[in-house]
């Protein structure tokens, strides 16, 4: 017997791997920590239960062990709820119940037969760290990318060292075994699948900080979250994006862009050197004069230089007086021009233009509240767009001298902790009735209003926690009592709220490098992607924009939202692809400064100048 509700939840796992990092201080799923395979993390169990319901996987010994090793501790309920609003424990319970009942009926689990290839790989990585158990393999077979189907590997291996990786490559070559390397699978673009071997880098977690050189050497299993934590411990900061992405994977895959890229750059700006293993199983460093040139860029789909076994990344200083600031705008173009001006004048470190949709989604602990306050934020407060900045005291003073109305860290904290009351109907009625010739924030964000806003919102961790299920309210109240949870700098460094953008549905993101001095081009891209999506009935919205290279260029995100389990939605994307692909291809080939990320994939080590200015 399967639980329909659990099946549905299981099918909605987004594969962003947030349950693989301890980002809320809850600790990690013990079974995952011990066994390291994706199958032993909540994400894997979600996939397994979903597959079991659809008869896609037999009950194997591995599966029995995976189900049994969950002690229903509840950690994943908290972690997953924080970003997706889902409660996976129900799935874990259903999985355990199903397996227990099945065994009680006298059934025997299937034992996957070993074979010489598996044995050989086990000799390289150790018995525990290579598997062909179908339940394990299943969790390395698919992601929510709507344009590809399932692709189950024959083996999964988790090497512990660079030598083991090299040995696996050489072994795969001798056996003609195709292989792919997997960080945390958070690219969700169908990249980490193979019919042969998946090398999961999760056991290679070494980080070494070089304080004098302002750098860190990280192994390929290290996530951005882990690196950032270590950097902060040393009083430094790394350029990181999605927290669960591996640093090596992120650099290789997308060139690692974030709002920090305004100051710290993208692609080759991020690292000092990288070590790779080539297709023959030999090591090389990018800085080696004899190495193939990975710093150049080719306008075509290109494979990665190899498997990255070490990234020697740059770290950056931070100052005590850094804080976040948001500058509201009614109009997109005005916001973009302002962000550009800040970037050109070198004001601020992290910079981005966000829409009201992202803002409400990021700030709200639940999807319902996000929907409710979206109107409040965008219309009642007038925050249709905000320019977000992290800057020191001087940068913030400069911004204040340029724009009268800003949301400083104190006000942001108040809004975040009082968010459930911002959506209060009576207050919204009042504010939206207050038609004036100025946007509402021009009145509401004045310092004199602070006390009134505070009286209305009554901000507190408990107020914020009201937005979530009752049994999670205590947990959320404790969480929001931590200053960092409402600190724009911390939140932007550890990026733990950005995955909320796909809370309602999986997101299919378009990332395009754009010329920041030609706002019309940017608007045209958003407009055209919006039109294509509308034509096929796909939900869509502007995402964000971050200036680069002193305001000359920017990276733009525009998102489509789809239910990846709904075949109709997949079909819509397939149809839309026939229009957006040629559109972005042509634009990337013909318009200076425009480059669709599709061409950067796997060329993340290239110098940004090689593709931004061609």
């Amino acid at each position: 017997m399967f639980s329909e509700q659990a099946r549905q939840t299981a099918g909605q796992c987004r594969h962003y791997a947030m349950c693989k990092i301890d980002y809320l201080g809850t600790g990690l799923c013990r079974s995952g920590e011990e066994n390291q395979y994706v199958s032993h993390f909540p994400q894997g169990r979600m996939d397994i239960y979903h597959a079991l319901c659809r008869g896609l996987v037999p009950i194997t010994r591995g599966l029995v062990e995976i189900a049994g090793s969950c002690d229903l501790c509840g950690i994943c309920d908290k972690q997953c709820h924080f970003v997706t609003g889902m409660r996976p424990v129900e799935v874990m319970r259903a999985l355990k119940t199903h397996v227990r009942q099945w065994l009680e009926q006298g059934n025997q689990p299937v034992q996957a037969a070993s074979d010489p290839d598996l044995e050989a790989m086990r000799r390289i990585v150790g018995d525990k760290w290579a598997s062909n158990d179908p339940a394990v393999l299943l969790t390395y077979a698919d992601d929510p990318f709507p344009l590809a189907g399932m692709r189950t590997p024959r083996y999964v291996a988790l090497p512990k060292s660079r030598e083991e990786v090299a040995a696996l490559v050489r072994f795969a070559n001798t056996r003609n075994l195709p292989y792919v390397v997997r960080g945390n699978g958070g690219s969700v673009f169908g990249f980490v699948f193979s019919d042969g071997l998946v090398m999961d880098m999760n056991r290679m977690k070494g980080i070494e900080i070089d304080r004098e050189n302002w750098t860190a050497r990280v192994e390929p299993g290290v996530t951005s979250f882990e690196l950032q934590k270590e950097a902060v411990r040393h009083g430094l900061r790394a350029n990181t994006a999605e927290p669960a992405a591996t640093v090596c994977g992120n650099i290789v895959c997308t060139g690692l862009f974030s709002t920090w890229s305004n100051a710290y750059g993208v692609n080759a700006d991020t690292f000092v050197d990288m070590e790779f293993i080539d297709s023959r199983g030999d090591f090389f460093r990018l800085n080696d004069p004899l190495a193939a040139n990975a710093f150049c860029f080719e306008h075509k789909l290109t494979p990665a230089p190899g498997i990255c076994t070490l990234a020697h990344v740059r770290l950056h200083p931070s100052t005590e007086d850094e804080e976040g600031l948001m500058v509201p705008f009614d109009d997109f173009e005005e916001a973009v021009l302002f962000a550009r001006e800040l970037s050109t004048r070198r004001i601020g470190l992290a910079l981005g233009v966000l829409g009201g949709h992202y803002l409400s989604t990021f700030m709200s602990p639940s999807a319902e509240l996000a929907d409710k306050v979206r109107y409040g934020l965008t219309h009642a407060l007038g925050l249709r767009y905000v320019v977000f900045m992290v800057g020191d005291r001087f940068a913030r003073e400069a911004v204040r001298s340029m724009r009268e109305f800003v949301i400083d860290s104190k006000l942001f904290r108040m809004l975040m902790l009082g968010l459930p009351r911002l959506g209060d109907d009576e207050w919204l009625d009042l504010v939206s009735g207050m038609h004036t010739d100025q946007p509402p924030y021009a009145i509401l964000l004045r310092p004199e209003m602070y006390s009134l806003l505070e009286a209305v919102l009554r901000p507190s961790p408990e107020t914020a926690a009201q937005a979530v299920d009752e049994d999670l309210q205590d947990f959320y109240a404790q969480l929001y009592a931590r200053p960092q949870m409402t600190d724009m700098v911390w939140l932007n460094m550890f990026r733990i709220i950005s995955a909320r953008m796909s809370r309602r549905k999986h997101m299919f993101a378009f990332l395009v490098y754009v010329p920041l001095d030609r706002v019309q081009v940017i608007k045209q891209i958003c407009g055209q992607l919006g039109r294509i999506a509308d034509k096929y009935g796909i939900e869509n919205d502007y995402g964000f924009l971050t200036p680069l290279d002193l305001g000359k260029r920017a990276i733009l995100e525009y998102d489509y939202y789809i239910d990846h389990q709904d075949p109709l939605e997949k079909e819509k994307i397939r149809k839309a692809l026939k229009e957006f692909e040629p559109y972005l291809d042509n634009l990337s080939a013909s318009t200076k400064g425009v480059k669709w990320l599709k061409y950067i994939f796997s060329q993340g080590c290239a110098r940004k100048e090689a593709f931004l200015y061609t």
Binding site: D429, H435, T436, I443, E448, L452, A455, R458
Partner: protein
């Protein structure tokens, strides 16, 4: 046996879900006319459901609804978006048209929408009734088509060059369009120009809680907010704002409202509007322009006084502008100030709306505009609070 001496008249009323449109439609029904109401549906309720709800609010019995026909439509669409059967009814049966529908937004960024409804919407309506036997057009306009004119504003189609906002401007243009159309098509045009309309002067009932109500509602909100802060949370926020609760239950709410005693709001109750409308239609077969206004304005100072009394408040008062030089505005006052400044032309009005024609007609029928007394104010506010400013209607 009753002998029907006059044919039952059929009125097409637009804006049937609105404040004035619904009152006019219901009054016409009660006078035995047949009424075709143009109304829009919303995402969660059809035009009929919305109208039914309103008729319930008015307490109209089912049998009294027989002469009402609800036409789902939208001014912004050609042919008003009517289905062909409804369109036929309109073109065959309309004797008179009452145009109350309007986009009443002032906001400059809604210009396109306001123009579409108030100009294009009127043209669409005129196209539809052109084919009908309709011989009279009753256009509900506003006294504020006077725009930035000063002093005495004439009760005619005079020239106005400057307006405070897109609402005034489009209402003015709509009058001109209607006048031209009616002249060409030999339709009698009535242009009604009410000032600010509030609830019923004897019952306080209303469906619209804007204009007069909004600033008072804001004060009421502050009152509840700070009373709760004082009673439940130790009153820190109240102290920050110098809000105090006296032993007698009176809340001291320091809100100074910039004003002067030479100006005020011109307020008329909805019952007077309807009565005047009917009297003018009856008493003036040749049509024309009619200012339905109050001969006496209400000053902000008086309004503040009423508000203090009714809501048991202290500290809310009208002051001269230089008061703020001595002590800058607090947060509560800033909110007020932005509102009062934006609605300045209506809240601090120095204009005088000439209404000799209207008052002659009304006087002839013993109709006069009720005074905006404390009693009337209190009745209206009681109703507003009871219905939570319309949220519990």
């Amino acid at each position: 046996m009753m002998v029907q001496t006059r044919k039952q008249q059929t009125f097409l009323v637009t804006g049937g879900t609105g404040f004035l449109g619904s009152h006019v439609a219901v009054d016409l029904l009660s006078r035995g006319h047949r009424v075709l109401v143009l109304a829009r549906g919303r995402s969660n309720s059809s035009a009929s459901q919305r109208m039914e709800q309103l008729l319930n609010w008015f307490g109209i019995r089912k049998d009294q609804r027989m002469d009402l026909k609800i036409l789902q439509g939208d001014l912004n669409r050609p042919g008003l978006g009517l289905d062909p059967r409804d369109a036929r009814v309109v073109s065959r049966e309309t004797d008179e048209t009452v145009h109350c529908a309007s986009d009443t937004s002032f906001s400059p960024d809604r210009r396109e929408q306001v123009e579409r409804t108030n100009i294009l919407g009127l043209e669409n309506l005129l196209d539809v009734v052109r084919e009908s036997p309709c011989r009279a057009l009753h256009l509900v306009s506003t006294a504020y088509v006077a725009g930035k004119s000063r002093g005495l504003c004439a009760e005619d189609f005079g020239q106005v060059r400057e307006f405070h906002n897109v609402y005034e401007e489009t209402k003015f243009r709509a009058e001109k369009i209607a006048a031209e159309h009616c002249a060409v098509n030999r339709i009698t045009l009535y242009v009604y120009r009410p000032s600010i309309v509030y609830g019923n002067s004897t019952t306080g009932r209303t469906t619209l809680f804007k204009a007069l109500y909004y600033p008072i509602r804001t004060l009421h909100f502050f009152q509840k907010l700070y009373t709760r802060d004082i009673l439940e949370n130790g009153g820190k926020k109240a102290r920050d704002m110098q809000v105090l609760l006296g032993g007698n239950g009176v809340l001291h709410l320091p809100v100074r409202i910039q004003s002067s005693d030479e100006c005020g709001l011109n307020l008329i109750p909805v019952d007077h509007f309807v009565e005047a409308f009917m009297a003018i239609r009856r008493g003036c077969p040749e049509g024309g322009v009619f200012h339905i206004v109050n001969p006496r304005s209400t000053t902000i100072s008086r309004l503040a006084d009423y508000t203090r009394r009714f809501f048991q408040l202290e500290g809310v008062r009208a002051v001269e502008p230089d008061e703020f030089l001595k002590q800058p505005r607090n947060g509560l006052e800033l909110l007020f100030d932005s509102y009062i400044r934006y609605y300045g032309p209506y809240m601090q009005d120095r204009r005088i709306f000439e209404n000799s024609r209207t008052s002659a007609i009304l006087a002839g029928q013993n109709i006069s505009c009720p005074e905006f007394s404390y009693q009337v104010f209190a009745t209206c506010m009681r109703y507003a609070v009871e219905t939570d400013w319309g949220r519990q209607l």
